[in-house]
Amino acid sequence: MLNRIWFWLLVIGVGYGLAKGTAQSVFGPASEWGWVQAAGLDDPPAGDPPLDAEALAAQQLPVNDSPLAPLQDAGKELTEAALEGATVSVEICLGLIGVMALWLGMLAVARDAGMVDGLAWLLRPVMRWLFPDVPDGHPAQGSILMNMSANMLGLDNAATPFGLQAMRDLQTLNPHKETATNAMATFLAINTSSVTLIPSTIIALRVTQGSENPASPLFGMLLATIASTIVAIFTVRFLSRLPQFAAPPADEPAGDDSAEGDASQAASNEGEDA
């Protein structure tokens, strides 16, 4: 599934950029096309308006008046986007190192002091219903709860380290190390739709944008996220029972060595096509 989405994102992205650049090279800039002007929308057609010669001269940039300029620009933008994506992701991870170390360090202290287990013990009926595959008292319960509480309070920085720790704890229960378990799917579905009590990032953004009442969407957001979390829990339950998403049978040896992993991956891809 991810293979295919990855492939199509890349193909559509490059293909669309190529087609748009070519069209603009052949027919001139989109803002001058007859039917676009005839559409009569007040907003300019998508894309940055081409800099005119004066603006370029003001910035002392050479005027590219070649008829192929739009095509060249499109290619340049795609190249820059690809390189920027790679750079940004490494920056994100480097920035994450310190935060991860801080929060996983505190999590270790809290766990050692028995606080995490205490929290898990309090909420064990909920956890048992949500994650029937996770035994009582397993460390995964604690880290899942820490992640959920950080998410609810809008502490994005703390939620990621707890969440990654939860994935690692869940992985210890996984018989097939390259395939997601039901518990992981449930955890991520709840995580991505998480109930929000205090959306601190969004409130901060609204303050900087000059809102008179920055906290006004708080209540609506709570309702909307409760709805999406309920849907997430039931959807993930339902989908896990469908044959095309079935986990490999438990007696099959875990596909740890690469050849076997490839073979079973190919098999699962065929299953998707059917």
Partner: protein, 188 residues
Amino acid sequence: MESFREISETFSQWTIPAALLLIVLVAAWRRRPMYEEFVTGAKEGFNVAVMIIPYLVAILFVIKVFLASGMFDDVKWGARFVARTAGVSEDFVEGLDLLPLALTRPLTGSGARGVLVQVYDEHGTDSFIGQTATLMMGSTETTFYILSVYFGAVQIKRFRHTLPACLIADICGLIAAVAIGCMLFGGS
């Protein structure tokens, strides 16, 4: 509402210091070697952060390329064109400004924030469109990013039903956001 906002703001500023203090106090009460425990945990954090790099590069660069093709802007423009030609009400045409936000949100957090700021600039933060956009932003997550990072940390390659389940939940979150936005802020 103003005092409520102040209380919630104060509360959110003090969550982290309070949590840190609580953990350390309980650990001291239990007489645990907290410094050693902290360093052990922190070491793991370093490893996880480095391990997710390849997974994040794989997903982010593809998303960036896709967004750079300018397709979403054209989709928004095309949708407006079709809606005007079909002669639907002007309110609905305005609402189409929310479309790029709905499409960008599962792909990238920073991109979606950019789109949100654009919506605020055009319609105002406290307008119906602005409020609904805020709800849409808050009730969904950057699903693709989260899945690749979280699964990358444990090197899982087959996601099974996780992606469809998360996307369905996202769509429901968006629908709920628009519905609640209409109920709470519509008609003004």
